[in-house]
Each structure stands twice: as C-alpha cells, then as structure tokens.
C-alpha cells in the first residue's frame, strides 16, 4: 500500500495530462446536461440589455484576443444574439489589436444563422476597429466617437453608416458592454466612461480576472458582470440558445472534479508515504 502511494506521490505529470485529456474529451462526446443556475451578476448584466428599447445603440467592446476566445467568444455571441432579438444596435470597438478580428468572426458566424439573416452590417452592427493607446481611446470617445474612429475596420467612413446617425459620444449610447481579458477593458470604461460620463457600463471577463472587478460591482459603477465560461453558459441559458459555453461547462465541471480528486490523492499519499521527493 505504501509503495503504491509512494508512486502516486512522485506521479509523472504526463499521467495527469492524460487524465486531463480524458476529462476534457469525455463530456464533449457524452454531454452531462447539468442544470445551469443563474448568478446575480450575470442576471444584472442581462437586465441592462433587456431593459433597452428597440433601436437603442450600445458599444460592444472586444477587448480580447484569440487566446481568451474559448471563454469570451461564446459570451460575445450570446450578447449579440440578445441584442439582435431586442433590435438593439451594436457599435463594436476594440481596445486590443486583435479585437476587431474577433468582432468580425462573431458577426460572420451569427450572420450565417437563419434567425439573423435580415441583420445588416452598418445598420444593426458596425465594426469600428481598433485605435492605439486604450486610455486615450476611451477618453476620446467621451468627446467624439467618430472622432476617435473616423473609419470602420474596413476603411469606410464611420459617419456614413445608418447606425452611426446622431451618434456623437457616450451620451448617445444606451450602455457599454466590454468583453475583457487584460488590463484594457472593463476597468478603463468604469473609471472613465462611467465615472466621468455616467454611462452604464457592464461586461464580461475571463474567470481569472473577475475578482479584479468586484470592487466596481460593490460600488455599483459596474452594472453586472458575466464571469468566465460559467457566466457565458448562464447568458446562453438566459437567451435560450445553448452553445459552446454550455458544452464547455460540462468539461469544466468534470475537470474541476478531477482536480479535486488529484489534490485529495496527493494529500493522502503525502500523509501515508511521506513528503514528495
């Protein structure tokens, strides 16, 4: 018995990696269909958009890159679905260089769905691209959005789009939804667009960075927060369109259980066989 735990104690990490692969693939092949409970933070974020009127315009900020897309792309799609259904128009901007490409991908993938075949670029959605120096960009939009983004991502004049008619600055948008992975994003919008221009700011972020925004939630400067893959799956449930996040949550559940199992096993083996070599 002790010999067994000695082996466990010095387990090759490749065995843990292998277990991880199984834990990831298995729930994808046979979905567990676990229930999804809506947390208050996701609900508040959903309510911000739910309360908007048809024709209202929001800024959807794509502040992430492909690396965080497994968490944030399903979230972006769920939020866009919600906006399309409510006929809320979306002005996509980005504070990260790769953000506009992520916006383009999300728009293209939804455009392929029959439900949204009537939605047009420039009318229901516009991708204004990215500008360097994110603090200056967020500050500048308080003055003039077309001033900061004179052309869209593809080079057309911003003011020519139907969606941009009458848009000057934050005063003319109903809310800001930022999808954030690093330092540029929710924090920047809260400290500038909300604190100085009183614009409603909400958003979603990767699970790891969610704790950073709790103080803003407590001070009500941030209206709701969709946290990581779990938040994305909740949002998918709220818009009644299960997608990649819901499937991903099954994976996350199994992986967390496996991690807990390994942690307990490690502690047990340490208690029986002594300290790791």
């Amino acid at each position: 018995m002790k010999a067994f735990f000695t082996i466990i104690n010095n387990l090759d990490r490749r065995i843990i990696f292998l277990a991880m692969v199984v834990a990831v693939i298995w729930p994808l092949v046979t979905p567990l269909a676990l229930p999804v409970q809506i947390t208050p933070n996701t609900q508040s974020s959903y309510d911000v958009i739910e309360k908007l009127n048809p024709g209202d315009r929001i800024i959807l900020s794509f502040d992430y890159d492909p690396a965080s897309s497994p968490e944030l792309q399903p979230m972006a799609k769920a939020v866009m679905t919600h906006c399309y259904r409510k006929d809320v128009k979306m002005i996509a901007v980005a504070l990260w260089p790769q953000g506009p490409m992520m916006a383009k991908k999300a728009f293209e993938s939804l455009a392929g769905e029959a439900e949204f075949s009537g939605k047009k670029y420039g009318v229901d959605f516009v991708n204004l691209g990215v500008q360097p120096s994110y603090v200056a960009v967020v500050k500048g939009m308080g003055d003039s959005i077309p001033g900061v983004f004179p052309t869209d991502f593809f080079g057309s004049k911003t003011t020519d789009f139907a969606i941009m008619k009458g848009i000057k600055n934050y005063r003319d948008v109903a809310a800001i939804f930022s999808l954030t992975t690093g330092s540029a994003g929710i924090g920047t919008y809260v400290t500038i667009a909300n604190a100085q221009y009183k614009t409603t700011v909400t958003g979603g972020c990767t699970a790891i960075s969610s704790l950073e925004y709790y103080p803003y939630l407590q001070s009500k400067q941030l209206s709701g927060l969709v946290e990581g893959l779990k938040g994305a799956s909740e949002y998918e449930r709220l818009v009644k369109k299960p997608g990649l996040a819901t499937a991903g949550m099954d994976v996350q559940a199994v992986v967390h259980m496996m991690l807990i199992f390994f942690i307990l096993l490690a502690n047990l083996s340490q208690a029986i066989a002594g300290k790791q070599k």
């Binding site: 890159d65 000057k168 600055n169 934050y170 005063r171 221009y197 790891i208 704790l211 950073e212």
Partner: protein, 393 residues
C-alpha cells in the same frame, strides 16, 4: 569620496530644477498665448457668448423632458439626473448637490408660468456651463485631495531620505526571494547551466518592468563574476535595448566585458503567447538552472513557471499583478509579492537614499491604515464627509 558624490547629486538636482522652471515657464507662456488669442478676438468671443446665453442652440433637452413642470419632487429628481448626464457638463464631473443647486437656481430665475421641464433643463445646463467654467483655470480643485495625499507621501519620503543621507541606520527586513538571487546564480554556475531572466511582458513605461530591469543589473553582475551565461528574452524592443545596456554595464564593471554576449538579450515578439512559446522553447533547449520572472505577467505566469519547474530550475518570481501571484506562489521557489518587487533595488544596493524612500513608503502605509480605520468608524456613525473627501474625480 562621499563629498564628491554629494556634489555630483546636487548638480543633478540643480539641472532638474532649471528644467522644472523651464517647463513651468513654457506652460505659463503657452497659457498667456491662449489668453492673448482670446483677447485678440473679443468680438467673436462676445458673439459666441451672446448666442449661447439666450438661445442655447447647442443644448438640446431629451424628449422625455418635454412636459409641463408641476413642482413635484420627482420632477426635480429627474431633472437633476438629466443635468448630471448632460453632454455639456460631462467633463465637469458634477456632484448631485451641485446639480440640484443648478436646477433650483434655474427654477428661481425662470418665470413659473407655462414652464416645461425642457426649459428648466436647458437653463440649468447653460448655468452649469458658466458656473463651472474652468477653461482658464490651471488647477482642478476636485483633485486637491490627490495633491494633498501626494504631498504628504512625498514629504515622508523626503524626510526619511534626508535622514538616511545624514547617515542614520535604516532597518530593512529580510526578503527571502532577493537573498536567494546569489544562491540561484551560484547553483547555475556549479551546474554549468545558464541563467534565464524574463522581464515581464510590458514595456519600459511600467514601473514593474523598471524594477525588474533593476534586479537584472544585480543578476548580471553576479553572472559576470561567475562567468555564467545569462539569457534575457524580451517581448518589447525597448526593454531589450535597456536590458542590453544594463547587462553590458554590469559586465564592464565586473571587468568581464569580453564574456558579454549581446545576442543573448534578444527580442522575440510582442505577441503574448508567441513570446511564451519562445521562452518555453529556450527553457527546453538550454535547460537553465535558475529562472527569474520579474515584471508584469498575465496568463503566461503559470506556463512559464511550470515549464521552468519541469526543467529543474530554481525559480524566483516577482510581480504586482495580484491575480498572477497565486500561480507564482504555487509553482516557484520564491515569490516577491507586490511591493517587495519595488523594494528590490533598495534591498540589493542598500543605498541610504533608496532605503529612505522605503521607510517613507512604510509611514505612508501606516497613515493609510489609520485613515481606513477612521473611515470605517465615521461611516458606521453615519458621518460621510470624511470618506467623500477621498473620492477621486
């Protein structure tokens, strides 16, 4: 020697003060130029003012305010909310009491008959624009709290720096991570393997990167003494240039400039994960015996630290990125948490001036603790002016 050093520093300060005076002069000159430009066109200025005051063409009331005023508190509250959000007043960062004062003054100034909310709104916003016009001011009174706090902190630092220069002994607690630097480099030398230094993924404009590069100077001095290979992959070209300079200088001082290899301090890519892949590759190929991760880190922290652990390196990390500290703590041998990274330079050089700033910083921290406790007590008693004063606008 010490006298010579003192003079040299004083000349430095002199130069700085000349530059400060220079910059202030120019700011004042520029301000006068703006003022003169405005004076040169008094007619235009008057015309704009005349056009803005009675007709207020650029202030447009929101559609929901186009209703008659009936004097109810709800209407006043709605008005205040809209005034706070008004585009023309957005940059003024008004408080609720100020908005309310604007609305009440407008109501007092306007004839009460057949008054609509929109009229009150337009008047209040125009009044606000005039009342809170600070376009000719050079100091924002709403930021006086930051100024006072800043001056206080700087005076603590100044006081202790002065005392340190007088030769007063300053105690600094042991920081295990920093004391282990020599041991780590020594181990790499014994094993005949290189030392890897990762200065984070941000540019030189971040203080954490500067703190990291400062430690690099110390590490480079050791590797130069022991003649051990030092690898510094960088994600920003400015960090690369600075690191090359710092390492070159350290090798020069150690009298080993011939062992300095500029190509070991290289730029990989600005892309976060491309950089991680590159550094991981270097680790797997070169198998360093000591890894340093000092600077700004995001998701790559654990990927680097785990690969480093896999190749058997002794690892010292340091960052002020709160959500990455747990990963470093879990995977590295030593971790400098937050402020310890900034204290590194003082700790390693033991320069009295640097130690003085550290002491001043500690007193500042003590003051913050007192303020927090006082704030909690006052807020619990329902006294809010104290905590309100600390709100940054």
């Amino acid at each position: 020697m010490s006298r010579l050093k003192y003079n040299h520093k004083r000349s430095n300060y002199l130069l700085m003060f000349v530059l400060l005076a220079f910059s202030l002069l120019f700011a004042a000159g520029a301000a006068r130029a703006t003022g003169e430009a405005a004076l040169e066109n008094p007619q235009t200025a008057e015309v704009t003012a005349a056009a803005a005051a009675p007709a207020e063409p650029d202030i447009e009331a929101p559609a929901e305010l186009k209703i008659d005023y009936n004097g109810s508190p709800e209407q006043i509250k709605t008005l205040c909310e809209h005034v706070l959000k008004a585009r023309a007043l957005a940059s003024k960062d008004l408080e609720e009491t100020e908005a309310r004062a604007l609305v009440m003054d407008s109501l007092a100034q306007l004839p009460i008959e057949k008054l609509t909310l929109a009229q009150v709104y337009v008047h209040a916003v125009a009044l606000g624009e005039k009342r809170f016009d600070m376009s000719h001011n050079y100091f924002n009174p709403k930021r006086s709290n930051v100024l006072i706090a800043g001056i206080l902190l700087l005076s603590f630092i100044g006081y202790f720096t002065y005392h340190a220069r007088q030769g007063k002994d300053m105690f600094i607690r042991k920081i295990a991570g920093l004391s282990a630097i020599d041991e780590a480099v020594g181990r790499a030398t014994e094993m005949g393997k290189p030392v890897l230094f990762v200065p984070g993924i941000y540019d030189m404009d971040d203080i954490q990167t500067i703190a990291g590069v400062s430690i690099l100077g110390h590490v480079a001095k050791k590797t130069a003494e022991y003649e051990t290979n030092l690898l510094v992959p960088c994600t920003r070209s400015l960090v690369m240039s600075t690191s090359q300079e710092v390492v070159r200088e350290a090798y020069l001082k150690a009298g080993r400039i011939d062992s300095f290899k500029a190509e070991n301090i290289r730029y990989l890519t600005d892309d976060q994960f491309g950089y991680v892949a590159g550094v991981d590759g270097i680790m797997m190929r070169e198998k360093p015996a000591a890894n340093f991760y000092l600077g700004v880190f995001f998701a790559e922290s654990l990927i680097l630290a785990e690969t480093g652990h896999h190749v058997g390196a002794i690892q010292i990390a340091g960052t002020a990125m709160v959500h990455q500290i747990p990963f470093f703590v879990a995977a590295c041998d030593y971790t400098l948490i937050g402020e310890e990274l900034f204290a590194a330079s003082a700790y390693l050089t033991r320069e009295p001036m640097q130690l003085g700033t550290l002491k001043g910083q500690d007193v500042g921290k003590f003051l913050i603790i007192i303020v927090i406790v006082l704030g909690i007590v006052l807020e619990t008693c329902g006294i809010t002016f104290f905590s309100n004063w600390f709100i940054t606008h």
